[in-house]
């Protein structure tokens, strides 16, 4: 029983990592139909900035957090202005933009490795401390709790933003039909910029809460991005909760298959489950609006 509780927490923990990336994916996707393959690298940027401000410069926690979020948001804005806008003006196919984001993730990886170093870096947890007893024999580090709680909170905030605020509804309107939204008077370019910045900001927060567990490294983005993408697909792109749920399912599949079947072949089982899910329910658990 104790084992199962620990495995569930492990699944929630990994799931939150994938889920927060999925949340960022979903946000951009819902408003622009772009699958931003640089999302993992944005989380990496968040992690590297976290190292820089929290560990290297030893800044006070609150200031560092703000700086990390600002820095990653700016990266998001740059991505939008330098890559997405020019391609959109050229009426490029959606998919060219997507491939361009792949190239951007390579560039980000290289830039960070050149400017900050090629190794892995330590990032302290926002709250340091010994493992906390949760009941029975179940102990959890504060950073794991922060990871799960903050992710859930972000998911909730975005659900609230998208469904209960004017800004959110405007963003969704653009996703439905950009031309119509423009005609209705919405400043589409500005709103999309905000979307990119928000998405990057989430990734920045993601970097802050993931790096105390996994460390920060310029090369960590791609692998996490793929898992985050998988979480999106599994959960569906329909609403902010979808990615989180998808992520948790993947995380649970990983920890349980690793424990009960084989730790060596665990990736095979996780991806098989994903494949089966895709064949059986192609649009995910919460299909995006407008159908697939």
């Amino acid at each position: 029983m104790n084992d199962i509780a620990l495995l569930i927490i492990a699944g929630l923990s990994s799931g939150s990592i994938y889920g927060i990336i999925a949340l960022a994916f979903t946000l951009i996707y819902n408003s622009t139909k772009i699958v931003n393959f640089a999302q993992g690298s944005l989380l990496m940027s968040g992690a590297m900035f976290s190292y820089y401000f929290l560990e290297y410069k030893q800044m006070p926690v609150v200031l560092a957090v703000v700086l990390v979020i600002v820095a990653t948001s700016l990266l998001g804005l740059l991505l939008k202005t330098l890559i997405v806008d020019p391609l959109h003006k050229k009426k490029a196919e959606l998919f060219n933009i997507i491939i361009a984001t792949l190239a951007v993730s390579i560039v980000l990886e290289q830039l960070f490795s050149i400017f900050m170093g090629k190794r892995q870096f330590r990032v302290p947890s926002l709250i340091e401390g010994d493992p906390i007893k949760l009941g029975g024999n179940v102990m959890v580090f504060p950073e794991t709790i922060i990871l799960i709680v903050v992710t859930a909170f972000c998911v909730f905030c975005f659900w609230f933003l998208l469904n209960k605020t004017a800004l959110g509804r405007a963003i969704q309107a653009i996703g439905f039909n950009r031309e119509a939204a423009k005609l209705a008077g919405l400043k589409t370019s500005k709103l999309i910029a905000i979307t990119f910045m928000l998405s990057a900001a989430i990734s920045g927060i993601g970097g802050l809460i993931v790096s105390p567990i996994m460390g920060a490294s310029p090369y960590m983005g791609v692998a996490l991005g793929v898992k985050g993408f998988a979480a999106c697909i599994l959960g569906g792109m329909g609403n902010p909760f979808a990615g989180f749920v998808g992520g948790v399912i993947i995380g649970l599949a990983e920890s349980f298959s690793s424990f009960y079947i084989s730790s060596t072949y665990s990736p095979v089982f996780s991806y098989l489950i994903l494949l089966v899910m895709l064949i059986v329910k192609p649009s995910g658990l919460w299909p995006e609006k407008g159908g697939d």
Binding site: I99, A230, M237, Y271, L272
Partner: protein, 320 residues
């Protein structure tokens, strides 16, 4: 065979006569080998993505299947290469069919994810199924012994000529009746089925062919390199092949071959930028993608009205 491919083949044959392997220094012949292999991989993906618009980020999985199947048959089961090579291609095509049929119902990023999952599963099996693949130790293929001196000595030429041949095959497909049908799938799935073209049949057909091409590339890689290890067959490679197709111009066979050449040679040329070379490579790719979205040789053109429709689509229909 159209004019373009005739010219290209002629150039290729002339080049081969002038520069047969014994006269080229091994550094260059090794690069040409990699160009050939990357070109075959890209041509294969081009059939799937360029012609039928189905995105695949799992080509490395078929690449691995070709390489490992031929190696295992030859080395562990002592099968002659004359049987091993076709068997490897056929097996890979069968797997492509088995995987393709269910997943090609998906579109856009859902399909992309399915192909990624496939690639990851193959990679994990290649890495961890030690009794069969020897994992990271790799499988050694003593090319001379396995192929016999005659074939081994001329393997380089065989590979290069095969590349040219496969290119011609792709061009022929493009210009044939099948090609027109396939392109109609790419441009408008609903319209195509309205005039009776069974697009799912063509999607699967191209996917299987793409798998076959990748398998051939894998067999060549295994025998030219004399050793295969799992790291080569990872998602990074799948992404590189996709980049080549995009840079070359989706749908253009000559484009992807040129792009394969450039992508293979570029890291060598960038050597002067020691430490910054991958960065420069990434930035160059970004610049090409932003300023020439159709790729270097983008020859596929859409009627204007279709393009507008694609961009302000309601809901999501994925990438095409």
């Amino acid at each position: 065979m159209n004019k373009k491919s005739r010219i290209a083949l002629l150039i290729l044959i002339i080049l081969l006569i002038i520069f047969n392997k014994s006269r080229i220094n091994p550094y260059y012949s090794q690069i040409i080998q990699m160009i050939a292999i990357n070109a075959i991989l890209a041509l294969g993906l081009n059939l799937v993505f360029g012609h039928t618009g189905q995105i695949s980020i799992g080509q490395a999985g078929f690449y691995a299947l070709g390489a490992y199947t031929s190696a295992i048959l030859e080395i562990k089961l002592n099968v002659s290469f004359l049987i091993a090579w076709p068997s490897a291609v056929i097996l890979t095509c069968l797997v492509a069919y088995a995987i393709g049929k269910p997943i090609l119902k998906l579109h856009g990023h859902y399909l992309a994810m399915a192909t990624i999952a496939f690639g990851m599963i193959v990679e994990s099996l290649a890495t961890n199924w030690l009794p069969v693949t020897s994992g990271h130790d790799g499988i050694y293929i003593p090319t001379r012994e396995v192929l016999g001196p005659l074939v081994a000595q001329n393997l380089f030429e065989i590979v290069v000529i095969s590349t040219g041949f496969l290119y011609v095959v792709c061009e022929n497909i493009e210009y044939s009746r099948i090609g027109r049908a396939i392109r109609s799938v790419r441009e408008n799935e609903i319209g195509a089925s309205a005039i009776g073209i069974e697009h799912s049949k063509y999607k699967v057909m191209m996917f299987v062919l793409g798998g076959g091409f990748s398998a051939i590339a894998g067999i060549f890689y295994a025998h030219l390199n004399t050793v295969i290890t799992p790291e080569v067959f990872n998602m990074h490679t799948s992404i590189q092949i996709l980049m080549i197709v995009v840079l070359g111009g989706i749908g253009s066979n000559i484009g992807v071959v040129m792009a394969a050449t450039i992508v293979t040679i570029l890291p060598e040329l960038l050597y002067g930028f020691a430490g910054y070379n991958i960065l420069v490579y990434g930035v160059l790719v970004c610049i090409v993608l932003v300023f020439a979205p159709k790729g270097l040789f983008g020859l596929i053109e859409y009627p204007k009205r279709l393009k507008n429709k694609l961009f302000v689509k309601e809901g999501g229909n994925g990438i095409t």
